[in-house]
Amino acid sequence: MFSATLKSIRGHVGRTVATAAAVILGISFLAGTLIFTDSVQRAFDDLFATVFETTDAQVRSAETIDVGFGLEIRSRISQSVVDEVAAVDGVAAVDGFVQGTATVIDADGEPIGNPGQGPPTFGFSWTEDDELSQFTVADGREPSGPGEVVLDETTAETGNLQVGDRVRILTSSGSEEFDLVGVARFGTSGSIGGATTALFELGEAQRVLAAEGQVDAIGVRAESGLTEDEVVARVAEVLADDLEVITGTEATDEAQSAVRDGLSFFTIFLTAFAVIAIFVSAFVIANTFSILIAQRTREFALFRALGAARGQILSSVFVEAIIVGLAGSLLGVGLGIGLSFGLRAMLEGFGLELPSGGLVVLPRTIVVSLVMGTLVTVASALFPAIRAARITPVEALRESSAEAWQRNNVRFFIGIVIVALGAVAILFGLLAPEIGLAGLGAGVMFIGVFVLGPTIARPVARWLGMPIAALRGTTGKLARENSMRNPKRTARTAAALTIGVALVAGVTVLASSLAKSIEDTIGEQFVGDFVVDSGAFGPGGGFSPALTAALSELEVAEVVTGIRVGIGEIEGDGDFFSVLDPQTAFEVFDVGVIEGTAADLTDDAIFLFDDRAEDLGVAVGDSVTVKFPDGRDRSLTVAGLYTEPALAGNQAISQGLYESTGAEQLDLATYLLVADGVVFDEARAAITEVTDQYPNATVQDRDEYIETQSESLDLILNLIYGLLGLAIIIAAFGIANTLRLSTIERTREIGLLRAVGMTRAQVQSTIRWEAVITALFGAILGVILGLFFGYAIIFALRDQGVSSFDVPIAALGLVVVLAAVVGLVASIVPSIRASRLNILEAIATE
């Protein structure tokens, strides 16, 4: 029996390759994701391993604020600690280190990098001690005083900046020009993983990064003969309680694990798409196996007649599945290596710079890929194999091997129940929120549609085929009849496409609804005329409040107010704080203040989103404990409540309060209300004149601003479309597979059609339109599911300020049209094959 299986595989190489194609593609995505993230991780690990090589200890504040997403802010410490540490016996050298945000302007006057959608833009102090320094000068010299800067090599190249140039740099203290005195490398790399870095002499860094008399950390180099632990122990003795010291090795580990945390989101994100690809592959494999087994009914019946036991038939199918799965997975790992470069190119195309190093193919990657690929293939072949084993010898005598169709109300009912269960799981998963449960629910819904599909494929295909039959005449009619003759096959073939289309449609609906919500929210809550926007979304981006101050001087503007985002803990929870100028903010924003007035937001007060206040169990007049990056606990009085969190977030504080915490002050955007009687063009000209010094600030009127805010979703949306593309390609292979097998089954029929006068072009047209009907069936089910997914997510987010459910008819129509194109493309090879068959041999086929 085993050798018969091998002969069967060898005898049908084309068929085996077609089945394996789905495994190969699905596994290549998984392997590609693992290889890519491992390679990036290794590159970062190597980078940071060299960076702290010569650092024996690091002194820093013990106070941190953690807001999640790998974003942790540590308090600064007094510069006087530097001298105390230097005085410790056994310390050879110390370095006070300052860091902040700095935007470098390139030779063309454009900002380099946007922290809102890419790597950070750093401003650092230069480390004097050569051995402690993480940077080494590659060209020019180190910065030695006021007005001098050194850039990392990559940024200098990107910005077309040479040593000797004047370079404009934006920091929280303003917009200034510096002499570029040198270019430096970070360890062995041109930059810190694609971030831009501007390096200043310590005193200058403290001035421009607003850290007078403070440092963020102190690097320590021990005298030779002293271990890291020994020097750490000695330094620890002189430190106050709110300070801590760690070894260089710990600093390396922390840096590496911080990157790992940052990448883990990324890995999970990509892995989710790999799982989708494999799930789609499983549908394609299951469908291919069931068609193959239907066609081999006679062969199996013959084996049975010759005395093969059921178990032998079963194991013969399994052995075939294992061989196809193993071979496909191996090829998938090979293709995954190529795909890992594709993923890198794709992400870099979306503006994400990644360090490059060697290709990392861990044994884990190969094992996981082989096990997954084989398991999925074998599991997908399970039901078809059981069906094969049930074949009785009598069935060999039956004329047709095609599965007969009959109305099946039980199947319809079961399908509906499974779909409903999946829908409930999604709703519960989203509301809990438990993303895993929601994902499982989506998978269950797809399986339900897989069960349901065959019972609805026939009427739907008839309906879909109507215009085609009317327009294409006989070939159209034949295409329609062919798509209806085996509804199970049509439905199962379409199912793979349904998954891809459902996810694309769901994401499209979600994005469209979010965009509309953003537009509605801003439209309702922002009542000003102009916005000067930095394009940043959170801490680590923005422009100096000096710009806002300059704009306030303008006579054309009646109200000017800058908005910052602060970081802090409220009752122990890390979160973002809206930082406002109470005197002006409420004149351009209507956030639904229900208690308190602008004047109540003093420097020891806080306004809360009313749901947040409820969660905290506080009311106006109560006090809450808040901690900012300076590490001090502050007791703030709840002085007001508001109902609209979309712009103001969970809590809002005054600028005066946040400035007193010593945190970096950057305005994300400044909002203006034009004075009465001023022509808008005039106002714009006046505003633009002021923002000239700040190339990262763009001037927009109200409508432009509303539009760009919703455009920010496009980037992530395109990335998701790109990643879902592979699932669609796998589905296309599934359609091609089915068509190929169906046309083989209909060889005689095609031969007869050719004999009585069907041209090759007409044969191709028939198969092409059959593919289009199948694809449309899958796409329409997908769009329906996608609408549900999108609606469910919007429903779950209704309390987070997502108020609108928008159905983008044009975009969904385009999705359906593209799905039909996928069907067309999938039909090319099978239709050409079918049209070239030899008429005489076809007619003679038994």
Binding site: G473, T474, T475, K477, L478, E481, N482, M484, R485, R748, E749, L752, L753, R754, A755, V756, G757, M758, T759, R760, Q762, I839, L840, I843
Partner: protein, 257 residues
């Protein structure tokens, strides 16, 4: 549509007489070298318009190959086959397809119908493929002739074997082809259904002046024809006119010796 004879290049040589189909020196060789099989050896034959001819011969005699090559389903190794005055070797696949669609009708032994189309749709299939409306009256008449008027909207799976084969004959007649090729048309039928089919074919020749060439191995079937050609080993070895079952049977026995 008008994709008619403009695809057909002028014939190089015009065969003599009023023949619907003919061959001159037709040879067909399968394989090469040691495995060479001569299916047809220098066959020259004419099938006159308006006559019912039968081709007989043992398995491997070349009777099916001759029919396939004349019908444009296969190509000769040497010699020429004509439909009317049109030489087939000069035609592209597309032109051959057009020729089959417009000038030739087919009845095969089995699997003659498209299962997804109704009886009537099967009958008008060559017309539909050509995009022509055809002659509705004629189609109705043909359907009437084969007694399928009340079954014409049924699918093949709902028809008996004899009815299915009558649909096939009706399809061959519907486009008023220059010639109908029938390959063992009664081979899969019981004798009563078979006789019915043969009577229809006979009437098509007598009443509608249709030309039919039928391959068969059954003397009773051959007796319905006007003329029987006997093939053996790729050559025409004998011919009888106005055959009866007995005369065909006797000839077969004589040739078999």
């Amino acid at each position: 549509m008008t994709e008619t004879s403009e695809h057909l290049p002028p014939a190089p040589r015009v065969p003599a007489g009023d023949s619907a189909a003919s061959t001159i020196g037709a040879s067909k060789v399968y394989g090469m070298g040691d495995t060479e099989v001569h299916a047809l050896r220098d066959v020259t034959v004419q099938f006159e318009t308006g006559r019912f001819s039968a081709i007989m011969g043992p398995s491997g005699s070349g009777k099916s190959t001759l029919m396939h090559c004349m019908a444009g389903l296969d190509r000769l190794t040497a010699g020429e086959a004509y439909i009317g005055s049109q030489a087939l070797s000069a035609l592209s696949d597309k032109a051959l397809t057009m020729l089959r669609r417009e000038k030739i009708g087919f009845v095969f032994q089995a699997y003659n119908l498209i299962p997804t189309l109704t009886a009537r749709e099967n009958i008008t299939l060559p017309l539909d493929l050509a995009g022509s409306k055809g002659d509705r009256g004629w189609v109705d008449e043909v359907i009437e002739t084969v007694s399928l008027t009340d079954r014409q909207h049924h699918r093949p799976s709902e028809l008996s074997g004899g009815q299915q084969q009558r649909v096939a004959v009706a399809r061959a007649l519907a486009s008023r082809p220059a010639i109908i090729f029938a390959d063992e048309p009664t081979g899969n039928l019981d004798s009563r259904s078979g006789a019915e089919i043969l009577e229809f074919m006979r009437r098509a020749v007598d009443e509608l002046a249709q030309t039919i060439v039928m391959v068969t191995h059954d003397p009773v079937s051959a007796a319905y024809s006007d003329r029987v050609l006997f093939l053996n080993d790729g050559r025409i070895v004998h011919e009888i006119a106005d055959p009866t079952a007995d005369s065909v049977y006797d000839t077969m026995r004589a040739l078999g010796d």
